[in-house]
Subunit: 423 residues, 2 copies
């Protein structure tokens, strides 16, 4: 039996879950991996706070030094979130020869190279499977299961809050505002939901996931982003009538001109495996040049699922004789990115219900080489009518230019939404 | 760069695919894992056979000793299939201090303890991710990604041939015979399809998968098995009218009385993630006590997908300083199995279209404590009519006894099918 002494930085939702898993599955972990995990000290802000976890008060401390300066602690698990003081603590642990396990996507996507370099130069490990898609071990699958592949594309639902909101709008015809309120009541969305609904949380995660998948650093600034706040039940209904389901997707592809990475609401066919991912579940769909299409599905958040990834990382770290480093981080290999990408598009306009409107719009689309796949004018109301187009594959830049021009037509009252469609 | 010299036993479909992946992804593997894989010798039966793979004739040999006795070869990848001579060759390689990677479910499910023990006593590795679900790294996920969990249940579609046949019957109303013929024409089913359609192939794989998931040996003899040959378009249509989809499932659960393991056609709700797995795709749905529900989806067969698992295993083995062994195999820990398991059931009977039939059947069900959830009599034909029952959760043994008694009723012309329903 190999005994490993661990210190926790933080004991909130995920930290408490990880503590409970270690206690509950002690026997299974010993039997399968021959490892006994002992959590020696746990850094908290408030010793008197009532906690759901079974973590005993005797091992809690308000001094980070009790964790970071204890030579017996060989692995530090960080659950604080945010950039500071996490970055400082993680660097201190690594430089003291401790391996670090973290679920912190913010500190990783901001200071990843610095942290990985510190880990490598100290010969210790940096593990972060929990930072993307909670309980789904997608990063570990890239590193430990799919190594034979060149990954060519990935498409993922990696934010449970927005997937819950979109599922409620789709299933129950709720407005965006009411669905968001329900998510907040259920504890699935923060009081300030901006990180989730703006797509920023997905951008952080896609930066980590796509960098690992494509072996080059894709910084968050390089990722195009569009949130879900403008989505209405109408969009989802019109899409459904065309056999399409709306999801907030993270998309990254290896193309001949470079790597494209974008986050936006996206229509996918109802038959696509991602269309069935409902509520707070997450899924990542990958294409590797050997394995072909592969999808991983599970809970993207929550104390126990995210704790599952953290504790599995602790076991992997404790079993490893040497650790794995991503050479693109150590060598600072940046992605060759392309801002131009192709997609089909769904366009919803509000137009005057009069002759000639369609001709004006179609003329502009045609001038940009955009070919219409289908066009449906829905019932008019007060002299205006919703007009929905599906157009064939076109560059996002040509699409943007055409839309800008269409928006200036006097017969067009509003461009309500332009949403990529992935087949 | 760590150079690893590999020998192949066999160069058929999967072996050829593995060879091609190693060549094609040489740069990516070097960049990500710092490993250069050199395939030095390849055992074949016929040097002159035309092959799809790029494997050059110069490295082929018809003598196993050229692979097994070459001290430079540190990893042997076995692609022969079947029990002998695979078992002998694998043991010889392990005893010569070589690590073995195999996709061979037959030799594993028959001689697993012997092989694992030989690997452990020689301090070399035995890797077999490709033996279950082809390209889906489900075994590796258990060992390398989900270690924090006690796995409580698993349900899988792990045979692409039968899933293709059932999808064709469901989508196109084909008869079982015609769907099987089509699968044979497409190269998805063997000339003798018994292994697949009888469920035996699934039993082999479930034995390996469930043993690893539950950390105890579940031999193939302990697994209840029912094939798909009796399925008709009627069953699938009647199920569809109840919101159910039919799949050939491998099921294993940890229960209070022991572990249950069974393979049979099963109805699942149309909304279950496994219901959408179509054609030759595979998927495994697991429940862990930390991660909750998780599903892995991908290609369960084929040269490149299965080759992906083999080559990933080679990379894992080449990177490992020490290898992982399953202690339940070394210590011969057998599963405590239970033959009794509970499920809801679908029952299709052909009955005489006359008064009193329903009363007789309902009386028998009631005597065995079986509660009817719904009952539909379809249109009569020639004085007989199909009668379909859905019954609530009941033990498989009570169900069997009730069905035996119902079959003896003179008004019952045939018990066409009794199919478990998993909600």
């Amino acid at each position: 039996m190999h005994r490993v002494t661990v210190g926790f930085l933080g004991c909130g939702n995920v930290g408490g879950g990880a503590y409970d898993i270690i206690q509950r599955n002690r026997e299974e972990i010993a039997l399968r991996d021959g490892i006994e995990i002992v959590v020696k000290r746990v850094l908290v802000r408030d010793l008197n706070k009532v906690r759901r976890s079974s973590c005993p008060r005797e091992i809690m401390t308000t001094s980070a030094s009790d964790v970071l300066d204890d030579p017996e602690i060989s692995i530090v698990a960080e659950f604080l979130g945010g950039i500071e003081p996490s970055r400082t603590y993680i660097l201190k642990a690594l430089n003291a020869g401790k391996t670090v396990v973290t679920a912190n996507k913010a500190v990783l996507s901001s200071c990843w190279s610095e942290l990985e370099t510190a880990a490598a130069s100290n010969g210790v490990g940096l593990y972060y499977d929990a930072s993307v898609a909670g309980g789904i071990p997608v990063l570990k699958n890239l590193d430990y299961c799919l190594q034979a592949n060149r990954i060519d594309s990935l498409v993922g639902i990696i934010n449970g809050t927005t997937n819950f909101i979109l599922t409620k709008i789709a299933d129950e015809g709720m407005s965006y505002e009411n669905a968001l309120k329900l998510a907040q009541e259920k504890g699935l969305a923060e009081a300030d939901p901006t990180m989730d609904v703006s797509g920023m949380d997905v951008v952080y995660k896609l930066s980590i996931l796509a960098s690992l998948a494509f072996d080059c650093h894709i910084p968050i600034e390089a990722i195009y982003r569009q949130g879900i706040a403008a989505i209405t039940p109408d969009d989802i209904r019109f899409g459904a009538s065309l056999g399409l389901t709306l999801k907030l997707l993270a998309v990254a592809k290896r193309t001949q001109t470079g790597i494209e990475a974008h986050v936006h609401p996206t229509f996918i066919p109802d038959t696509h495996p991602l269309a069935g991912i409902r509520g707070a579940f997450n899924a990542v769909f990958l294409n590797g040049n050997a394995v072909g299409d592969i999808m991983l599905y599970g809970k993207g958040a929550g104390a126990l699922p995210t704790g599952s990834s953290v504790v599995s990382d602790i076991i992997t770290a404790a079993s490893a004789k040497t650790h794995r480093y991503s050479s693109f981080l150590l060598k600072d290999v940046r992605a060759k990115l392309t801002e131009e990408w192709e997609s089909c598009f769904y366009i919803r306009l509000t137009v005057c219900d009069e002759p000639g409107v369609l001709a004006s719009i179609a003329t502009i689309l045609s001038r940009y080489g955009i070919s219409v796949a289908s066009c449906v004018q829905h019932n008019a109301n007060d002299g205006t009518a919703p007009l929905v187009f599906l157009v064939h594959r076109v560059s996002n830049i040509a699409m943007r230019s055409a839309i800008d021009e269409i928006a200036r037509l006097p017969e067009v009252k509003a461009v309500n939404n332009t949403i990529p469609v992935e087949y």
